[in-house]
Amino acid sequence: MTRERKINAGLALALLAFPLWAYFANEPFMITLATKVAILALAGVGLNIALGQGGLVSLGHAAFFGIGGYAMGILASHAQTFDPIAEWPFLIEGTKSMPIIWIVAVLTSGLAALLIGALSLRTSGVYFIMITLAFGQMFYYFAISWPTYGGEDGLSIYVRNGFPGLNTLDPIQFFAITFVILMLAMGFAAMLAKSPFGLALNAARQSPQRVETVGMTPYRLRLVAFVISGMITGLAGALFADLNRFVSPTMFSWQTSGEIMVFIIIGGIGRLYGPLVGAALFIALEHILGGLSDYWHIYLGVLLLLIVLFARGGVIGSLAGRGHAHD
């Protein structure tokens, strides 16, 4: 077992142990914080596939996070008013079922990622960054100017959606759902990295020329990675909306994109558990510093600046040393 794997196992256990402690200590708010960590880490796991493996600096992942959120909001709001979403060409009704919401969230955010990716991957470097940022902003303004689902005010869902056999209103049970999804997603990301596709994608990041000369097209590899990445972040968006029982255009904002990226960087780019460490630290800072000062973002900014300038491997990089080639 490598040092990084030991750290990872410890992190997974810690994420599990913290809410269990909170459960027995009767601190439901702490469970909610842990749930938030798991969901934001999931969004980061999604982005990390594009960013860490594919080298695609997407500053527009809030688009997928928000689409996932609105998939939940729209489906659940129609279900709570018993008002079908569409009656033509066939009847589409709202739903309060999490699994169905997740599927819709994953499919719609995947479709958006396909469209955005197909356009923005025609470029690279700084163009790609600016274009993804701009498309994210497009969704933000669209959500604000489309009044049907609350416009700027967003949408409230009164009761959390259901999952067969579980009481999702119980914080620890909802945490369990998010924890399992996060572990599955990280397992998938780890598998992806070692798969033939992952090998090709990682090579396309390091040397696109090489990938082409062996007969593969970097554009297609990146597009597939971008879509997978968007789908996972979209799923996180649906869960995040369910956690808050509220969805608003803020989920689409450029700050959201930036924060998801910050999780990855704080934890360590390309590290499987990087997003989890980053999200946990982010939430801890928000909770601790936020209690001390209203202006805690200054400290976050300084911390981030120091990491970028002086500790490029992030937390896991500092603890586990240089990453090993996947063998």
Binding site: A134, Y295, L300, R312
Partner: protein
């Protein structure tokens, strides 16, 4: 729709466009010369607006306020360049994005700390307020007309600076061959600080000028920054001409789209759904414009590098 309304909207689009130009010119210059993507450019816009509002509040002079905006943004730009940005030139774009994102957090919260969360107001001076009558009987606010004038004057000034002056020659040389101008004895790090401060000053000026028609508040810079990115993608990175044409295209598309889209939808929808759908689509129009440019010319209208 009357001609007067249309002409007014064209002028509004033009005014919006030239303000975007002030933002995007600096960004594109910094990218062209230093190869740096600067997300904190929006913060410099905000700093300009706050400095102007503060000085106008103290002295009552709009001209002093504008000078304060230029000075504060240029100083902040130079300071950040020396302390942080300088370390990023050799880094990849991801590091640049993250470090400048961190700067946004620091600037935004720092400003909130100093000025509080409530918006400030910067008033249009008396001698620039009120409408003027243009040929064709168009009544148009004098202040907005002044903005168009200032924006175009800055554009001309920039073209002259780049094409006629010693600094301009160095900037152009810096875009094509960094090692060469270093070998010729130009102090690169001084040049970079100057270019960065110049871009910052333009952003600060834009912030102050726009601050008088909007409210001055934390977070006002980033939406403009993102629009400036759209401008640069359309115009092509590193091209001042591209920035100018891109800015005006985006300004006109956004303003006229808001006018025409609901009217267009009203042709086949009832009025209230047309207004809804039309305004929602209008909000997406400039991004659609960007997408079209990307499909036709991925390196932008005037971009050399893809």
């Amino acid at each position: 729709m009357s001609f007067i309304l249309f002409a007014e909207q064209v002028l509004n689009g033009l005014q919006f466009g030239v303000m975007l130009f002030l933002m995007s010119a600096g960004l594109t210059l910094v990218f062209g010369v230093m190869g740096l993507i600067n997300l904190a450019h929006g913060s410099l816009f905000m700093i300009g607006a706050f400095a102007a509002a503060a000085v106008a509040g103290l002295t009552g002079s709009f001209v002093l306020a504008l000078m304060a905006a230029l000075a504060a943004a240029a100083a902040a730009g130079a300071l950040v360049e020396v302390l942080v940005i300088r370390r990023l030139y050799d880094r990849d774009h991801l590091d640049q994005v993250l470090a400048t994102f961190a700067l946004i957090l620091i600037f935004s919260e720092g400003t909130r700390w100093i000025f509080g969360s409530f918006p400030l107001f910067l008033n249009i001076p008396d001698y620039l307020s009120g409408p003027v009558t243009l040929p064709g009987g168009i009544q148009y606010p004098l202040y907005r007309l002044t903005l168009i004038g200032i924006g175009l004057a800055v554009a001309v000034g920039l073209f002259l600076l780049i094409s006629r002056t010693r600094l301009g020659i160095q900037i152009r040389a810096g875009e094509s061959d960094r090692e060469m101008i270093a070998a010729l004895g130009v102090d690169i790090s001084k040049l970079y600080t100057i270019v960065f401060a110049l871009g910052a000053a333009l952003a600060g000026l834009a912030g102050a000028l726009v601050g008088a028609i909007q409210s001055v508040q934390v977070g006002m810079g980033e939406p403009v920054l993102i629009l400036a990115f759209v401008v640069i993608v359309i115009g092509g990175i590193g091209s001042i001409k591209g920035a100018l044409i891109g800015s005006i295209l985006v300004g006109l598309t956004d303003t006229l789209g808001g006018l025409f889209m609901p009217a267009l939808f009203a042709l086949f929808m009832d009025n209230s759904s047309a207004a809804t759908a039309g305004s929602a689509l209008a909000s997406m129009l400039i991004y659609i414009l960007m997408a079209v440019v990307l499909i036709v010319k991925p390196s932008g209208l005037f971009g050399a590098r893809a």
